[in-house]
C-alpha cells in the first residue's frame, strides 16, 4: 500500500515542491496544513505515515504540532525548516533538513525516518 504523508508548511510554494518530491518518492500526500491547529486535526483524520514539518507556521509552530500529534498517535517526522537550531533545542533527536533543501537530502531524511522508526 502507498504510504501517506502530510505537509505542515505555511509557504504554499515550498509546500508544492515538497509535494512533488513526495510524489516522486511514491507517497500519497494527504494535505498541506499551514497552522498548528489544522495540522493536529489533519494528522488525526489522515493518520499519515509521515509528517514533513516546517518550524515556523502561520499559527503555532511545527514542534508543538508534532508534540500534540504524538499525544494522539505515533508519527514519523522530518522537519524541513530554516530554523534548525530551534527545532533541535525542542527535540534533540529530530531529523532535520535545512532550507534551502534539495531533493536528495529530503529523500535521505525520509529514509532515515522510516529506518529509525522501523
Amino acid at each position: 500500500m502507498r504510504r501517506t504523508a502530510i505537509i505542515i508548511e505555511d509557504d504554499l510554494l515550498i509546500a508544492f515542491e515538497l509535494e512533488d518530491i513526495l510524489h516522486e518518492l511514491d507517497f500519497t500526500v494527504g494535505g498541506t496544513f499551514v497552522t498548528e491547529n489544522d495540522a493536529v486535526a489533519g494528522a488525526f483524520s489522515q493518520k499519515p505515515d509521515l509528517l514533513l514539518v516546517d518550524y515556523r507556521l502561520a499559527q503555532g509552530d511545527g514542534a508543538s504540532a508534532v508534540e500534540r500529534i504524538r499525544l494522539q498517535q505515533a508519527a514519523r517526522v522530518v522537519y524541513v525548516s530554516a530554523s534548525g537550531e530551534e527545532v533541535l533545542r525542542r527535540e534533540p533527536d529530530a531529523i532535520h533538513v535545512d532550507k534551502p533543501f534539495d531533493r536528495n537530502r529530503i529523500a535521505a531524511a525520509i529514509d532515515r525516518a522510516f529506518h529509525d522508526a522501523g
Binding site: 515542491e17 534551502p100 537530502r105
Partner: protein, 948 residues
C-alpha cells in the same frame, strides 16, 4: 350558356363548352364527329361526373377533363385541354409516365391512395388529398387507346386521421405524471411532430402570483421574441376562445405543406380543475387548410389535452411538495433522535464509571458486588441501545458509510460467534459454527459486520429455549452467504413481511426477555444494505427461524471509498451482548467482574491544579472525585466562570465540557488561546458528541485532546496526565530558554540582541532562498526544452549553494574565515547535494584566512567549478577525483585551482554561463581565470589576499 341539345356532349358546364369550341381537327384525335363511339361515350361520362376525371387518348396522350378536375391543375387549365400530358406535366413525367404506360400497355388498372395535391378552389392554395384510380379505355375495336383517371377526394379523412394521431400522442403524454416543465417540453415535442396542422404554438402558464402569464413552451417560433402582450391572453384566461386574422403582420411564420404565411391563429383557454384558468394556448392555423368546423374542434380538443397534462403536472408538484415537507419532518425527527441519544451518553458515563470503581473496591462483599454487577450490566446494555439508536440516526441522516476493507471474514465471524458459546452452554443450547474458508478476503466494514453477527445471534438466542443455534458462512459465486438458524419459537407467517421494520415487535412472542427496542433486525438490514447485500428470513412457528445474508465478496464500484466513518463512534462491545445474553439465560447470576486495572502511577509527587468546567452537577462531582486523588481540582458550572478562574489562578490543565451555558467549550477555548499566556495551557474537551468530525473540530480549535462521553476513569486520568506531562516538558524547555536568556549579563545584552537579529536575518535569508529554489523547481516542471531545464537546474544548484555558503558563514560568525575549512565543508556539502558521493575530493591548502568579501566569490567560484565537473567530466571515469588547492606562492599571491581527472568533457564551453560566472567571481577576487585542459580540466586563478 350554349344550347347543346343535339350535340354529343350535352352536360352543362365549363368543360362541355370548351370541348365543343375546341378545334379538335388540329389534334391527333381529329374532329369530334370522327371519334370512335367509345371515346365519345367516355367523354360524356366524364363530363357528367362530379368526381374530378381526366381522359388521355391516343398515343400522344391528349387530355380531356371535366369541370371538377380544373381545380387540380391550377393554371395549367385551360391550356391542358387538347394537349399532350407529356407537355403539361413534363415536370412530373418521370413519375406518372411509366405508370400511364403500364396501364395502357397492359390494361391492368392502377391506384394511388391519398395523393397530396395543392388545390386552389377557395381562394387559397389548399392542402388536399385525392385517391387516384387509373384504368385503360378501349376503342370500338377493343384496342386500348387511352386511359381514364378518376380522382376521389380524401382530404377530410387524411386530415382527420393526422389530427387524431396528434391527439393520441398528446393523450399518451398527458396521462403521465411529471413536473410541469417536463410536461410543457413533452407537449412541445409532440406538437412539433405535426408542423402542418400546428405551424406554431405557444403555451402560456398562469403564474400563481398576479404577474402576467409566463411562456411555458414555444413551438415553431423563437421563444425569446414572444411578448405575451401580442395575444389577447386576458380574454382567454376569462375562458374565451379568440380567432385572430392577419397575424402575419406581427408574426412571420410560414406553415402548411406549401409553406405559405400563417395568417390566422386561435387563442384558447387552458382550464384547470374547477374551471380555474391554468393559462392559454395560442395555435397557428395551417394556411393551406380550410379553417372549418373540424379544424376548430381539433384545436379545442388539443387545448383540452394540454390542460389535462398541465393539471396532472400541478398535481404532481403538489404531491412532491407534500413529500418534501414530510422528508423535512423526518429529518427533524432524526436530528432530534440523534440529539436525545447523545444526551444519554453523559448519564451513562456517570453510571458506568462509578459502578466500575465501586466494583473494584467491593472486594469481599459478594452481595454488594452482585448488585453492582447488575447495575453495571444494565448500564452497558443501555449503552448498547443508545449506540444502536445512534447508528440508526446516522443511517437516517445518510451519514453512515461502510468503511470496507479486505477482511478474513471466516476468522472474524468465528471469533464473534464464539463469544456466544458459553452463554449458549449455560442455557443448554448447542451452538454450531460452520464457517467455510472463503479463499479470499471479503470487503466488509468490520464494525458493521460485528453488529450484524452479534445482533442475529443475540436475536436467535433470545427466542430459542431448546435445541441449537447454527451459524454458517459459505461462498456462493461472488457472494459471501451467512446464515443464522435456530430451533426457536419461530415467527408467525403474517409477521414475516414486517420483521425488518423498525420498532416492529412480534406481539405476544415468547422470549427470554421482554426487553427490546425492536430495532436490532432493522439495523441489521440497513447495515447489510450498506454493503450492497440482501437479507432474507424464513421461519416456521415452533420449529425455528433462519436468517440468510448475502453480501458481495468484493465491494461494488458504487461502494464509497474506505475511510473513517461515524459508526466507528459506537463500537460494538461483544461484552454488552454477552452480558445481556447471560442474564437472560441464567439464574446463577452473571460472572464476577474482574478487578479493575490499577490506576496509573502518580505524577512525581506534585499535585497539578486542574480546572473543570461542566454544567452537569453529577458530572462535576464524578470527575472531581476521579481526579482529586492526585490533582487539585477546581470545578465550575459554565464557561464564563472557567475564564474567571483562569484569570485568578492559572491552572495546569483545563477540562472543558463542550455544551455549556453562558459560554460553550469552544468559545472558552478560543478565548484561552487568543491570550498570549494561554497558548501553552493544556485544554481537553469533553463532549457527548462522538465521531471523527467532532474530534477533528475540537483539535482544530486548538484543544490538546478530545474525550468522548461516556469515558471510563482510567482513560480520563491517563489523558489528563499525558497532557500535563507534555505541558511540563514545554514549560521546562521554556524555562531553560529563559535561564539562558537571564544568564546573559547586561554587558552582553546588546550583543545578544544583535545575535537574535542576525538569527532572524539568517532565517529569512534561508527561507527566501528556499522560496526561490521552490519557484525554480516549479518552473522547471512546465518546461519541455531540455536546455532550458538544464539552465534552471544549474540555477537551482547555485541557489542551494548560496544557502550552504550562507550557513557556513553564519556558523563561523566572525571574520577572517578559515578558508580551508570553509572550502572543505562547502565541497562536501555540494557533493552530497548533487548526489556525487562517489567522487573523491582532495583538498590541499596552506593555512589561509579570508574576509567574507573574498570568501563569498571564492566559494561561488568553487561551486561553479564543481557543478561543471559533476555534470560533464566523469562519464567514463571509474575513479572520479577532484583536487582543490589553495596555496600561497612566493610572490605573496594566493593560487586557487580545481582539477578533475575526467575525460576532458569537463572543459567548460566557451561562452557558457558557468564560465562567464567564474570569470566574474575571479574578477571580484582581483585575479584572472585560467582554463587549461590536459587529461581532465583545470581551472585556476591567482589573486591577492586583501587584508582589512
Amino acid at each position: 350558356m350554349t344550347d347543346r341539345s343535339g350535340l354529343p356532349f350535352s352536360a352543362p358546364g365549363v368543360m362541355s363548352d370548351l370541348i365543343h369550341r375546341f378545334d379538335w381537327s388540329a389534334t391527333p384525335l381529329g374532329p369530334v364527329e370522327g371519334w370512335p363511339q367509345s371515346l365519345k361515350a367516355t367523354v360524356k361520362t366524364l363530363l357528367g361526373s362530379r368526381y374530378p376525371m381526366i381522359l388521355l387518348w391516343s398515343e400522344d396522350l391528349i387530355q380531356i377533363y371535366n369541370d371538377a378536375y380544373i381545380n387540380l391543375i391550377g393554371d395549367k387549365h385551360p391550356y391542358a385541354l387538347g394537349h399532350s400530358i407529356r407537355d403539361t406535366q413534363a415536370e412530373s413525367w418521370e413519375v406518372i409516365g411509366p405508370m400511364i404506360h403500364e396501364v395502357i400497355s397492359t390494361g391492368t388498372p392502377n391506384w394511388v391512395p391519398a395523393q397530396r395535391l395543392a388545390l386552389n378552389r377557395a381562394g387559397f392554395t389548399e392542402e388536399a388529398y385525392f385517391s387516384l384510380s387509373y384504368s385503360a379505355v378501349e376503342d370500338d375495336e377493343a384496342v386500348i387507346r387511352g386511359m381514364l383517371c378518376v380522382c376521389s377526394e380524401v382530404t377530410q379523412q387524411v386530415l382527420g386521421e393526422r389530427r387524431l394521431k396528434l391527439q393520441r400522442d398528446l393523450a399518451a403524454k398527458a396521462g403521465e405524471v411529471r413536473p410541469q416543465e417536463k410536461v410543457c417540453g413533452d407537449i412541445a415535442a409532440a406538437i412539433s411532430d405535426y408542423p402542418w396542422d400546428v405551424p406554431f404554438a405557444l403555451i402560456y402558464l398562469n403564474d400563481s402570483r398576479d404577474d402576467a402569464p409566463l411562456l411555458g413552451a414555444a413551438i415553431g417560433v423563437e421563444a425569446g421574441g414572444e411578448a405575451p402582450g401580442r395575444w389577447p391572453l386576458d380574454r382567454a384566461l376569462q375562458g374565451e376562445t379568440i380567432e385572430l386574422d392577419g397575424i402575419e403582420e406581427r408574426l412571420a411564420v410560414a406553415g402548411g405543406p406549401f409553406q405559405a404565411p400563417v395568417t390566422r391563429a386561435l387563442v384558447l383557454p387552458l382550464r384547470g380543475a374547477g374551471d380555474t384558468a391554468l393559462g392559454a394556448l395560442v395555435l397557428g392555423i395551417n394556411p393551406n387548410c380550410a379553417f372549418d368546423e373540424a379544424y376548430r374542434s381539433f384545436c379545442e380538443l388539443l387545448a383540452q389535452q394540454v390542460s389535462m397534462a398541465l393539471r396532472n403536472a400541478r398535481a404532481y408538484e403538489e404531491e412532491r411538495e407534500r413529500a418534501d415537507a414530510l422528508a423535512a419532518l423526518d429529518q427533524a425527527k432524526t436530528a432530534f433522535f440523534s440529539n436525545v441519544s447523545h444526551e444519554f451518553r453523559t448519564p451513562l458515563t456517570l453510571l458506568i464509571g462509578p459502578l466500575e470503581e465501586a466494583l473494584a473496591t467491593a472486594k469481599g462483599q459478594p452481595e454488594q458486588r452482585k448488585r453492582l454487577t447488575v447495575a453495571r450490566r444494565n448500564a452497558l446494555r443501555l449503552t448498547r441501545l443508545v449506540n444502536t439508536l445512534l447508528d440508526f440516526s446516522r443511517i437516517e441522516a445518510g451519514r453512515a458509510r461502510a468503511a470496507v476493507q479486505p477482511v478474513n471474514l471466516t476468522t472474524l465471524t468465528v471469533d464473534l460467534a464464539s463469544n456466544f458459546r458459553s452463554a449458549a452452554e449455560q442455557a443448554g443450547l448447542t451452538l454450531t459454527i460452520a464457517c467455510q474458508d472463503l479463499g479470499t478476503p471479503v470487503d466488509v466494514d468490520p464494525d458493521m459486520w460485528e453488529k450484524i453477527v452479534l445482533n442475529l445471534l443475540s436475536n436467535a438466542y433470545k427466542f430459542t429455549f431448546t435445541g441449537e443455534i447454527a451459524l454458517t458462512l459459505n461462498r456462493d459465486g461472488d457472494d459471501a452467504v451467512l446464515t443464522v438458524r435456530d430451533t426457536g419459537v419461530g415467527i408467525p407467517r403474517k409477521e414475516l413481511p414486517r420483521i425488518f421494520e423498525r420498532f416492529h415487535r412480534v406481539e405476544k412472542q415468547r422470549g427470554r426477555s421482554h426487553e427490546g427496542t425492536g430495532i436490532g433486525l432493522a439495523l441489521v438490514k440497513e447495515l447489510v444494505e450498506l454493503h450492497g447485500g440482501t437479507i432474507e428470513v424464513d421461519s416456521v412457528v415452533d420449529e425455528g427461524t433462519r436468517f440468510t445474508i448475502r453480501i458481495p465478496m468484493s465491494s461494488r464500484a458504487t461502494a464509497p471509498p474506505a475511510g473513517p466513518t461515524d459508526l466507528d463512534a459506537t463500537p460494538t462491545r461483544a461484552e454488552t451482548f454477552m452480558e445481556e445474553a447471560r442474564i437472560w439465560s441464567s439464574d446463577r447470576g452473571p460472572h464476577e467482574e474482574a478487578d479493575a486495572d490499577p490506576l496509573p502511577a502518580e505524577l512525581d509527587g506534585m499535585r497539578p491544579h486542574i480546572l473543570l468546567a461542566d454544567d452537569n452537577v453529577d458530572m462535576r462531582a464524578y470527575v472531581s472525585r476521579l481526579l482529586r486523588a492526585r490533582f487539585e481540582v477546581t470545578a465550575v458550572a459554565d464557561g464564563a466562570a472557567a475564564l474567571d478562574v483562569i484569570e485568578e489562578r492559572r491552572p495546569d490543565l483545563v477540562l472543558l465540557d463542550v455544551m455549556m451555558p453562558v459560554k460553550n467549550g469552544f468559545e472558552v477555548l478560543s478565548i484561552i488561546r487568543s491570550a498570549p499566556s494561554g497558548a501553552q495551557l493544556p485544554v481537553i474537551l469533553l463532549s457527548a458528541r462522538a465521531g471523527e468530525e467532532a474530534r477533528v473540530e475540537g483539535l482544530r480549535a486548538g484543544a490538546d485532546d478530545y474525550l468522548v462521553k461516556p469515558f471510563v476513569s482510567r482513560e480520563l486520568v491517563a489523558r489528563v496526565e499525558g497532557a500535563i506531562r507534555l505541558a511540563q516538558q514545554r514549560a521546562e524547555a521554556a524555562e531553560r530558554e529563559a535561564r539562558i536568556q537571564a544568564d546573559v549579563d547586561l554587558a552582553h545584552r546588546e550583543l545578544a540582541l544583535k545575535d537574535s537579529m542576525l538569527a532572524e536575518i539568517h532565517h529569512r535569508v534561508k527561507n527566501n532562498l528556499q522560496f526561490l529554489s521552490s519557484l525554480i523547481a516549479l518552473t522547471i516542471k512546465d518546461l519541455a526544452d531540455p536546455e532550458a531545464v538544464q539552465r534552471l537546474e544549474d540555477l537551482k544548484g547555485r541557489v542551494l549553494n548560496l544557502g550552504l555558503m550562507h550557513n557556513l558563514l553564519y556558523g563561523v560568525g566572525e571574520t577572517p574565515i578559515d578558508a580551508v575549512a570553509f572550502l572543505r565543508a562547502l565541497a562536501e556539502e555540494s557533493r552530497t547535494a548533487y548526489a556525487m558521493a562517489h567522487v573523491g575530493l582532495e583538498i590541499a591548502a596552506d593555512p589561509v584566512s579570508l574576509s567574507a568579501d573574498q570568501m563569498v566569490p571564492l566559494g561561488l567560484l568553487l561551486n561553479e567549478a564543481l557543478l561543471n565537473a559533476f555534470k560533464y567530466a566523469f562519464d567514463d571515469q571509474p575513479n572520479p577525483l577532484i583536487r582543490i588547492a589553495l596555496r600561497r606562492n612566493s610572490s605573496g599571491l594566493l593560487g586557487f585551482s580545481v582539477c578533475d581527472n575526467g575525460s576532458g568533457f569537463g572543459k567548460p564551453r566557451p561562452g557558457s554561463s558557468g564560465l562567464r560566472l567564474m570569470r566574474v567571481f575571479a574578477n571580484q577576487l582581483g585575479g584572472e581565470l585560467a582554463v587549461t585542459y590536459d587529461k581532465g580540466s583545470q581551472l585556476s586563478i591567482e589573486f591577492p589576499e586583501v587584508r582589512r
